[in-house]
């Protein structure tokens, strides 16, 4: 591999990682705060992409879709949490089955409503071409994804560190029970958390759609990748999601071009190695043992 090629593939890996961060942040938040592994996360992501498709078909505007889809998904999350998840607090296997079930329903309804053909979302105007980087063309949309993810990360950090909501979230990740004892309305907090997590999945769906397409099966891929990122990085922390995404994106990209025969399992092998060395992920503070 020439240096130029290494740089290009590194950019490809970083932009893929950037997308993974957007995708995994929501899953990580829900896990850290609510102690729920939301296996419907991939379905939320998929729904986000289809909502975006619908919005673009109606308005012709990607920039409207990138706002509307997360809001729709947040609303879905806001309904699902109190309706279905609330009564399952602490019952992990039931949460697994329930979120798998919710995912099945969403994905099947998407198929019924939007059909099961492969779809694409056009690149937003101005982001459908390449610019020159180090003597070779690089797609602008992927640079946009990187910039967007960095901006999102910054915003999330700011919320996390500087706002009252962030303080509640930090406290909740540390000890949700204590928070409840202190008189915080955890029911409401959890509903909001779940809504934000679902909204972030929807956002990832919109951002991914122009680059990766919209098709049946995208939910499973997204779910597995986001689980890997969250587990590798360490559960429930923003740092963890960022570190996981920064590692998994480039590893996946280089891995599959350098060792295509192992492409199917490479990322799993990396995850296994990391977990064997650090059983609670790179930034994991707590070992979730039950």
């Amino acid at each position: 591999m020439s240096l130029e090629l290494v740089v290009q593939q590194a950019l490809n890996g970083i932009s893929f990682g950037a997308l993974l961060f957007i995708l995994a942040a929501g899953l990580s938040l829900i896990f850290g705060m609510m102690d729920v592994v939301n296996l419907a996360h991939g379905a939320f992501y998929m729904l986000g992409a289809y909502v975006a498709l619908q919005v673009v078909q109606i308005t012709g505007q990607f920039w409207i879709a990138i706002v509307v889809a997360p809001v729709v998904l947040a609303a879905v999350g806001f309904v699902i949490e109190p309706l279905l998840l609330r009564r399952l607090r602490g019952r992990h296997l039931d949460q697994v089955l329930l979120t798998i079930g919710v995912g099945f329903v969403i994905v099947d309804l998407i198929g019924l409503y939007w059909g099961r053909e492969v779809r694409t979302l056009p690149f937003p105007p101005g982001f459908d071409r390449s610019i020159d980087i180090g003597g070779s063309a690089y797609p602008t949309y992927r640079l946009f994804v990187i910039a967007f993810a960095v901006l999102l990360a910054g915003t999330l950090y700011w919320i996390h560190r500087r706002t009252a909501m962030g303080a509640l979230i930090r406290a909740g990740v540390d000890d949700a029970q204590m928070l409840s004892a202190l008189g915080v309305d955890t029911d409401r907090l959890f509903a909001i958390t779940f809504a934000v997590g679902a909204g972030l999945a929807g956002l990832a769906g919109v951002v991914a759609a122009p680059a990766f397409g919209i098709q049946p099966g995208m939910d499973v891929d997204a779910l597995i990748f986001s689980l890997i990122v969250v587990v590798v990085g360490g559960l429930g922390t923003l740092n963890g999601a960022a570190a996981g995404a920064a590692l998994v994106g480039p590893a996946e990209t280089f891995g599959k071009v350098l060792f295509p025969q192992f492409a199917l399992a490479l990322i799993f092998a990396i995850m296994a190695v990391i977990l064997l060395g650090r059983p609670s992920g790179l930034f994991g503070r707590i070992r979730i043992g039950r």
Partner: protein, 314 residues
């Protein structure tokens, strides 16, 4: 237990091909019952981990798939259809694989255990998909000979059905015996409070590893039976879909019970493979069933029926 009813039910199942002749479509019923029974063994094996020892494995298809491939490849390479050889190969390969994966995984718990088992299963899937010379790769492995036992043939559907049901009976007995044994109770102890078990002097990691290997071996048996039933193995049989199926069967039926995984296997296979013909959105129905069971039937179908019966009796 109500041994008589169980034995009666089992005998009815075993002799189904003999007495069902008058029912229209009984031949296909026999086929579906056979497949349900294979899946029941598979679900029972996973329940050892999920239900008894509290180890939520999302990679159980690794052992189902490796058992299926091992039986198929042994039969081809050794040019034999002798049950003792091919079944031994299936058990040996899946148990050995479970030992290796188990050694690496049993330290982890909860979601980490779940993801580690998924990761290793995905590696097994990749090997099945890529190692074309041995496994047939993405094309799958066709033309698997049905086993012979001594002079007995199982190429006829009824004979194979009986073999499957007999193995199912033996596995059920084993699980039932484990559930009542000191060993089985120790596993439940590990699930409930691993630290206390350790304090009591149990080598908990070794206990968990033994359960993992046993569950892997039994899944390998189920895999071998499926290889003979379908006379075909594909990478799908080691894939994540197959792992999720087992997981869901255990949870729907009721984890930690003998009957639960069996009923779960029947229900899931029915909705996913039989009902799917009749309606265009069977996945959504399956999803709704999951949600309904989680909300209405806390301990799965069997657990809830039990609880209801206790209430009725009072």
């Amino acid at each position: 237990m109500a041994p008589l009813a169980s034995i009666g039910f089992y005998l009815a199942l075993l002799t189904f091909p003999d007495w069902s002749g008058a029912i229209e479509g009984s031949r296909y019923m026999t086929t579906i019952l056979r497949d349900m029974t294979v899946f029941a063994i598979y679900a029972l094996s996973l329940d050892l981990l999920v239900g008894r020892a509290g180890m939520p494995s999302l990679g159980h298809a690794a052992f189902y798939g490796s058992g299926a491939y091992a039986a198929a490849i042994a039969s081809q390479r050794l040019a034999t259809s002798e049950l003792t050889v091919t079944l031994a190969a299936a058990i040996a390969v899946s148990a050995a694989l479970a030992l290796v994966i188990g050694l690496l995984c049993v330290r982890a718990t909860g979601i980490f255990f779940l993801m580690l088992t998924l990761a290793f299963a995905q590696m097994v899937f990749a090997v099945a998909f890529q190692w074309t010379d041995v496994t047939g790769g993405s094309n799958g492995f066709a033309g698997i000979a049905r086993p012979t036992f001594g002079g007995l043939e199982t190429s006829a559907p009824e004979a194979l059905y009986r073999l499957v049901v007999i193995v199912f009976g033996l596995v059920s007995l084993l699980i039932w015996w484990i559930s009542r044994s000191h060993y089985g109770r120790a596993l439940v102890g590990v699930r409930e409070n691993e630290r206390r078990m350790r304090a009591l002097g149990y080598h908990t990691r070794r206990l968990k590893l033994s359960a993992f290997v046993l569950a892997g071996a039994l899944a390998g048996v189920a895999g071998a039976l499926s290889a003979w039933s379908f006379r075909f193995v594909s990478p799908n049989d080691a894939g994540i879909g197959r792992s999720v199926e087992a997981f869901v069967m255990v949870l729907i039926g009721g984890a930690g019970t003998l009957l639960g995984p069996i009923v779960g296997a029947g229900v899931v296979l029915y909705i996913d493979r039989v009902l799917s013909s009749a309606i265009p959105f069977s996945q959504a129905v399956l999803g709704v069933v999951f949600v309904a069971f989680v909300l209405a039937a806390r301990q799965g179908i069997v657990g809830s029926l039990r609880a209801a019966l206790v209430r009725v009796r009072r």
